[in-house]
C-alpha cells in the first residue's frame, strides 16, 4: 500500500518545481495513490540476482571526434528565449542584492 498524502504531493511538487494549487492536492494524491498501488505489483517480480538494465543498447562513452564543427549562432540560440538582454538569456534575479 503506497498511500500518498497531500503533504507528500505538495513536497514533491516543490522538488519538481511545479506550483500545484492547494485545491488540487487531494485530487493528485488520490490519483497518484491509485497508480502507485498498481505499480507496487513490481515488488513481487522474481528479480533476485537479476542485473538492472538502464538501456536497450549497451554502449559506453560515445564521443565524437574532437574537431570544431558548426553550431548555432548566438541570435539563433536566443531566438526562442522568453527574454533577452545584451545578447544573453535574461533570467530573474538569482542572488539577493545585499
Amino acid at each position: 500500500m503506497s498511500a500518498i498524502s497531500r503533504d507528500d504531493v505538495s513536497h514533491l511538487a516543490k522538488l519538481a518545481r511545479i506550483e500545484i494549487p492547494e485545491t488540487e492536492l487531494d485530487h493528485y494524491a488520490a490519483q497518484l495513490g491509485a497508480i502507485l498501488d498498481a505499480v507496487d505489483q513490481i515488488a513481487s517480480a522474481p528479480t533476485d540476482g537479476v542485473p538492472a538494465m538502464s538501456h536497450p543498447v549497451p554502449m559506453t562513452n560515445v564521443f565524437r571526434a574532437d574537431v570544431p564543427a558548426e553550431s548555432l549562432s548566438a541570435p539563433e540560440a536566443l531566438s526562442g528565449a522568453p527574454a533577452v538582454e545584451d545578447d544573453r538569456f535574461r533570467v530573474p534575479r538569482i542572488l539577493d542584492e545585499e
Binding site: 522538488l15 511545479i18 498498481a38 505499480v39 517480480a45 527574454a83 538569482i94
Partner: protein, 500 residues
C-alpha cells in the same frame, strides 16, 4: 474527392516520376482535403501551406530539369509535432512550447527534406507524448476518422488520423510505449516502431530517452517501408544511434513470403481481458498466417505481466528528468517574471501554467520514484524487471522468427471515457510496452473490423533487434491475404467525411 488523395505513396511516387502529375498538384489536393475535413478531424496543429507548396514547386523544377530524384520526392507527409522543424512551430501539444520555432531541423526532418518529401504540417499529439488518446493535447483532441466521437489513439493520434482521413499518405510518429502502434491499430492504418537506435532521435523532444523511437506510419505495408528506409540509419548526432546497415525493409515489404517461418503467439498478451471482436479477428489472422505456410506456436513470456508496472516507473522517472529543461529560461513560456518572484518561483509558475494534468502527474510520480528511500524499490526494481522482459524476448526468439499479439486490448474508445482515470488509460499500452522496454522493433497492421462496433482491429508483429525487415515480410504476407479476402483496403469502409 480528388483521386490523388486516395492513392498510395508508392503509386503517387510512380505518377510523379512519370510526370503524369506534379508535386504542386499532389500537394494542393492534400491541402484542399485538409481544408475540407480537418475542422472535424483536427489531426493538424499547424499546416505549413507556404512551405509545402514552395517545396513542391522546387521538386517539380528539379524534375523538369531532368534530375533523377529520390523515390518519394513530391509525396506529402504529416510530421508529429514533437519533431523539430526549423522556423515552423513545434509545440509537443504543450502550452509551454506554444509558438516556439526551433532554430534547427531534427535529423529526421533533414532526411525527409533531402528525400524531397513534402511536409504538410505538424500533427496533434498528447502533451509531450504522454497518453493514448490525444485528449492530453493542450490544443484539443483529434477525432478518429472512423467515428468522430472516438479517440484516434495516442500519443500520435494526429499522425494516424491524418493518413486515415486521406489528408496525407504518410506520417511520422514516435513510440515510447505504443504511440505509433496503438494509434495505427485504432485507425486501421500501419505503424512501425523501429529497433531502438535504428532512427536518429536528434531533434526529437525527449520523453523517456531509453524508450523513445521515431518511426513511419502509412496506409499499407509498402508505403510504410518506403518511409522507413528514408528516415533510418546511423547519425553521429545521436549517441544511441546504431552504426550498422539498415535492414532492407522495402525488399521485405515486396516479398511477403512466410512459408516455413515460425510465428509465436505471446500467451500473456493475446486475449485475456481483451475485447471479444479484437480476439476474434486476431484468431482469424492467426489461422490465415498458418494457411500461408507459417508454423504458428504459442509462446510464454512469463514476466510480461510486470511490464506495465515497470514502464510506469521507468517512464515517469526519465521524463521527470528530461522535462526539467522546460523551466522558462531559454525557450518557450515564462510566467510570473514581474520582478517580485525569485527564479525558483518563476520556474514553478511557468511549469504550472505550461504543463497539463497528465504531464504534472507523471513528473510528480517520477520525482517520487527517484527520491531517496524509494529509488531501489521502484526505479531500481523496474530496471531489473526490464532485464527479465528482455530475457523473455531472447528466449522466445530462440524458438520463433517473429512474435504476434493484438496491438491494443480494445478498439477506439469514446472521447472522454477514460480521461480522468489514468490507470484505465495506461492499460491500453499493455501489449505494446514490452517491446519498448527491450528496444525491439514492432509493427501494427489492420486485420479487420470488430463485429460488435465496426471499428478497426490491429495485429502487432514483433521481431529481434535490427530484424525490422521481418516485420515487413510478415506484414506484407498477411496484408496481401487479407486484401484478397476483402477485395478492397480496409479504409475503403471508413466514412467519407465529405463536407465534414
Amino acid at each position: 474527392m480528388s483521386d490523388l488523395i486516395r492513392l498510395t505513396a508508392a503509386d503517387l511516387a510512380q505518377k510523379l516520376a512519370a510526370k503524369e502529375v506534379s508535386a504542386v498538384e499532389v500537394t494542393t489536393a492534400h491541402l484542399a482535403r485538409i481544408d475540407q475535413v480537418d475542422t472535424a478531424v483536427h489531426a493538424f496543429l499547424h499546416v505549413d501551406r507556404e512551405g509545402a507548396l514552395a517545396s513542391a514547386k522546387a521538386i517539380d523544377e528539379r524534375r523538369v530539369n531532368g534530375e533523377v530524384l529520390p523515390v518519394l520526392a513530391g509525396v506529402p507527409l504529416g510530421l508529429k509535432d514533437i519533431v523539430a522543424t526549423k522556423g515552423v512551430p513545434t509545440t509537443c501539444g504543450s502550452k509551454i512550447l506554444e509558438g516556439w520555432k526551433p532554430p534547427y531541423d531534427a535529423t529526421v526532418t533533414t532526411k525527409l527534406r533531402e528525400a524531397g518529401i513534402i511536409i504538410l504540417g505538424k500533427t496533434n499529439m498528447d502533451e509531450f507524448a504522454m497518453g493514448s488518446s490525444t485528449e492530453h493535447s493542450a490544443y484539443g483532441t483529434t477525432h478518429n476518422p472512423w467515428d468522430l466521437s472516438r479517440i484516434p489513439g495516442g500519443s500520435g493520434g494526429g499522425s494516424s488520423a491524418c493518413i486515415a482521413a486521406f489528408e496525407a499518405p504518410l506520417a511520422i510518429g514516435t513510440d515510447t510505449g505504443g504511440s505509433i502502434r496503438q494509434p495505427a491499430a485504432v485507425t486501421g492504418t500501419v505503424g512501425v516502431k523501429p529497433t531502438y537506435g535504428g532512427v536518429s532521435r536528434y531533434g526529437i523532444v525527449a520523453l523517456a530517452s531509453s524508450l523513445d523511437q521515431v518511426g513511419p506510419c502509412g496506409r499499407n505495408v509498402l508505403d510504410t517501408a518506403l518511409l522507413h528506409s528514408v528516415i533510418a540509419g546511423y547519425d553521429p548526432m545521436d549517441s544511441t544511434s546504431i552504426n550498422s546497415p539498415v535492414p532492407d525493409v522495402v525488399a521485405a515489404a515486396k516479398l511477403g513470403d512466410i512459408k516455413g517461418m515460425t510465428i509465436g503467439v505471446v500467451k500473456e498478451i493475446s486475449g485475456e481481458g481483451f475485447q471479444t471482436g479484437v480476439k476474434q479477428r486476431f484468431e482469424e489472422a492467426v489461422a490465415l498466417l498458418e494457411s500461408l505456410g507459417a508454423n504458428v506456436v504459442e509462446v510464454s513470456c512469463p514476466n510480461f505481466p510486470y511490464a506495465l508496472a515497470a514502464y510506469y516507473l521507468i517512464l515517469p522517472s526519465e521524463c521527470s528528468s528530461n522535462l526539467a529543461k522546460f523551466d522558462g529560461m531559454r525557450f518557450g513560456l515564462r510566467a510570473g517574471d514581474d520582478g517580485n518572484h525569485s527564479v525558483e518561483q518563476v520556474m514553478s509558475l511557468t511549469r504550472a501554467a505550461g504543463f497539463g494534468a497528465e504531464v504534472t502527474r507523471r513528473i510528480i510520480l517520477g520525482t517520487y520514484a527517484l527520491s531517496a528511500g524509494y529509488y531501489d524499490a521502484y526505479y531500481g526494481q523496474a530496471q531489473k524487471v526490464r532485464t527479465l522482459i528482455a530475457q523473455d524476448f531472447a528466449k522466445a526468439f530462440a524458438q520463433v522468427d517473429v512474435l504476434i499479439s493484438p496491438t491494443a486490448p480494445t478498439t477506439a474508445f469514446k472521447i472522454g471515457e477514460k480521461l480522468d482515470d489514468p490507470l484505465a488509460m495506461y492499460l491500453n499500452d499493455v501489449a505494446t510496452i514490452p517491446l519498448n522496454l527491450a528496444g525491439l522493433p514492432g509493427m501494427s497492421l489492420p486485420i479487420g473490423l470488430a463485429p460488435e462496433d465496426g471499428l478497426p482491429v490491429g495485429l502487432q508483429i514483433m521481431a529481434p533487434a535490427m530484424a525490422d525487415d521481418r516485420l515487413y515480410n510478415v506484414g506484407a504476407a498477411l496484408e496481401r491475404a487479407l486484401l484478397s479476402q476483402w477485395g478492397a483496403p480496409l479504409l475503403s469502409n471508413a466514412p467519407e467525411l465529405a463536407g465534414a
